[in-house]
């Protein structure tokens, strides 16, 4: 699903050069649920941004669902992002002036679906997260947990192959967080690949595989052979395979 090899990301100003990711390699297979952990400033968000095609990388190789991402223009990246990836943000990132229906509709409009298809998908995805009765409500009328469910519905409505979750429970209390995690697990069981960035070791433990990032590099990973992740040995997974 996602494969990065020797990838690096350098932020440059005329005074300072910051290596956010260095020689970063990872392979996430179809249907996996991977948790990416690490302290603040370790490079988790940079990884998420690059993996989600939100940011470009400085060097290395990156394939997303078989597509070589290097050299893709901005429009092509937007299209690929829209078709392949669903995003769940820590702060939900719902548009406050739009009701739930229109919020979920946002990525579908960019996808170019017709009105009937969009309506069907919106209703299905809101129903999946248990909010079909509140389509005309605005985000401010919902609890944090409900808002995150809407964000999940929005991410799922386009039937993405990969779900990128950035601290999806970071702004929720434990009860709501548990509900969101259960929902993500259910989505994963239905076949969607999930990469979740989190600080919370308890949440990370519920993923199939953990990747620990430190100073822009993968320093630790689960050793389950079938779900092997490598950092400096790009050929290791091939060997394992």
């Amino acid at each position: 699903m996602l494969k990065m090899q020797h990838l690096s990301k350098v932020y440059r100003t005329h005074m300072v050069e910051t290596h956010a990711l260095r020689d970063f390699s990872i392979h996430v297979r179809d249907g996996e649920f991977v948790a990416v952990t690490g302290p603040s400033g370790s490079g988790k968000t940079t990884f998420l941004n690059i993996a989600g095609l939100l940011e470009e990388f400085s060097s290395g190789e990156f394939w997303l669902d078989g597509v070589d991402v290097r050299g893709l223009g901005d429009d092509a990246r937007s299209k690929l992002r829209n078709e392949k990836i669903g995003f769940i943000f820590q702060g939900f990132n719902l548009i406050p002036d739009l009701n739930l229906f229109d919020n979920v509709d946002v990525p579908l409009r960019y996808r170019g679906f017709n009105a009937a298809e969009r309506k069907k998908r919106i209703e299905e995805s809101l129903s999946r997260v248990g909010l079909s009765s509140r389509m005309k409500h605005y985000p401010s009328e919902l609890s944090g947990g409900q808002q995150q469910r809407v964000a999940i519905a929005r991410a799922l409505a386009g039937s993405p192959r990969l779900l990128m979750a950035d601290e999806p429970t970071g702004n929720l209390d434990s009860l709501m967080a548990r509900g969101v995690m259960e929902l993500l697990e259910e989505i994963n069981r239905a076949g969607t690949t999930i990469i979740m960035v989190t600080h919370d070791p308890e949440l990370a433990a519920r993923a199939q595989r953990n990747v620990h990032v430190m100073d822009g590099q993968v320093t630790d990973f689960d050793t389950e052979p079938a779900l092997r992740v490598t950092t400096r040995k790009p050929d290791a997974e091939a060997a394992v395979a």
Partner: protein, 404 residues
């Protein structure tokens, strides 16, 4: 096109939308009506006076001293003027078109008529006036020398023969039979016979509603020791002739003062100075209004872009291209502008009707001003929002994952 969600979002920020919409509505109303007034003023200024303006000038001569004979001086001056090199012709004239001063009277068809059939300006001239002013006879004849009477200021004028403009002839005799007809220049007889009709010669008053109703009266009639002359020079020699005329007249009779010489072009400029000032003021108002409206749109759009940076980043993250973002802001502006213009269209006609009932000579705004105004303000709105919208389209999608 995501018109419905944009409208829905706008309805939740009504204050900003109403304010900017109202500004656009007022701008449309004021700009359309101001442009119409400017057009009317311009057309007013462009009306032909009916005389040769490029080569003609006029001036006064005031005699002083014991023994000054105004009538003899006038006749001698006219002979001298007509002989000068570069002069086509000269005539005495109490006034000239657009000079803002002169005589007028009511012209009647019957004696003791209570209401005049037409109000006409009277130009007291001689048989050289038609040629001097370079106006054209469309019917009848010029004055004969013997028809030019010697008159004294204060006498009642009852000229036997008069020449009138075609507009006046048509007003007096709408069936087109004015030539040879008799009219009254006063309440009582005798009558004057229309011996000639000239195509056009405006009155001295630029604002007169009957500006085209003019009568030429043949008389040598100095005003005390004062006489006014009109001179037409050969094409291109006006300024040279003006100097020569002044010099020769002073030499011929030093017992008088030659007043300031004015060209008809200067006279026209002075006559329409208030129209020109009005056009400049309204033009400035239009420019400032459009600039303020454009700046208002830029300010509002810039504020919204800054306020919605995270939202724009989220849209980008969810698959919006740069063009999608640009289009979003252009569409949003188009909708706000359209709402403002719909209100503005009604306001424009309301203002036009108000001007119609409260201003002399005002006309109802022609219908096409509003659609043209719509197009211009739509274009202005789109141009104004282009900068902020382009900035919005450059918001990177990674903004969506930033926590601050």
């Amino acid at each position: 096109m995501e018109i419905r969600p944009i409208l829905s979002a706008l309805m939740r920020s009504k204050v900003a939308m109403v304010l900017i919409g109202l500004q656009i509505a007022l701008t449309l109303a004021i700009v359309c009506n101001s442009l119409f007034i400017i057009k009317q003023r311009f057309e007013h200024m462009q009306r032909p006076s009916g005389i040769n303006e490029a080569d003609t000038f006029w001036f006064g001569s005031s005699g002083f001293g014991r023994g000054y004979d105004a009538r003899a001086t006038q006749l001698a001056d006219l002979q001298l003027l007509r002989r000068l090199p570069g002069v086509v012709d000269a005539s005495p004239a109490w006034s000239v078109p657009l000079s803002d001063g002169g005589w007028s009277t009511g012209m009647n068809l019957q004696p003791k008529q209570k209401t005049s059939t037409a109000d006409t300006a009277l130009y007291i001239v001689d048989d050289h006036a038609v040629n001097t002013f370079d106006t054209h006879l469309v019917a009848g004849r010029n004055f004969k020398p013997e028809e030019v009477v010697n008159a004294t200021f204060g006498d009642s004028l009852h000229p036997a023969a008069i020449i009138v403009t075609k507009a006046l002839a048509d007003k007096m005799f709408p069936d087109g039979s004015a030539l040879g007809k008799q009219v009254y220049l006063a309440e009582d007889p005798p009558t004057s016979t229309i011996v000639g009709i000239i195509d056009r010669m405006q009155q001295p008053w630029a604002t007169s509603e009957s500006i085209e109703y003019t009568t030429l009266v043949p008389a040598h009639m100095p005003y005390g020791n004062f006489t006014r002359y009109v001179v037409r020079a050969e094409p291109g020699r006006r300024d040279e002739v003006m100097k020569l005329v002044e010099q020769k007249l002073v030499e011929s009779n030093p017992s008088r003062i030659i007043g300031k010489m004015r060209t008809i072009e200067q006279t026209r400029n002075e006559a329409y100075s208030s129209d020109r000032a009005m056009m400049i003021i309204l033009g400035t108002v239009i420019f400032l209004l459009l600039a303020i409206t454009a700046l208002g749109i830029v300010g509002m759009a810039s504020f919204w872009v800054a306020q919605r940076t995270k939202q724009i980043g989220t849209r980008r993250a969810l698959g919006a291209t740069k063009f999608d973002i640009l289009r979003y802001f252009l569409t949003e502006n188009f909708l706000i502008t359209s709402a403002g213009l719909l209100v503005g269209g009604l306001l424009t006609y309301a203002l036009s009707l108000w001007l119609l009932t409260h201003t002399d000579g005002a006309k109802l705004l022609p219908w096409y001003y509003v659609p043209v105004g719509f197009l211009c303000l739509w274009l202005l709105g789109q141009l104004a929002v282009l900068g902020p919208a382009t900035r919005a389209s450059r918001v990177p999608p990674a903004v969506a994952t930033r926590s601050v």
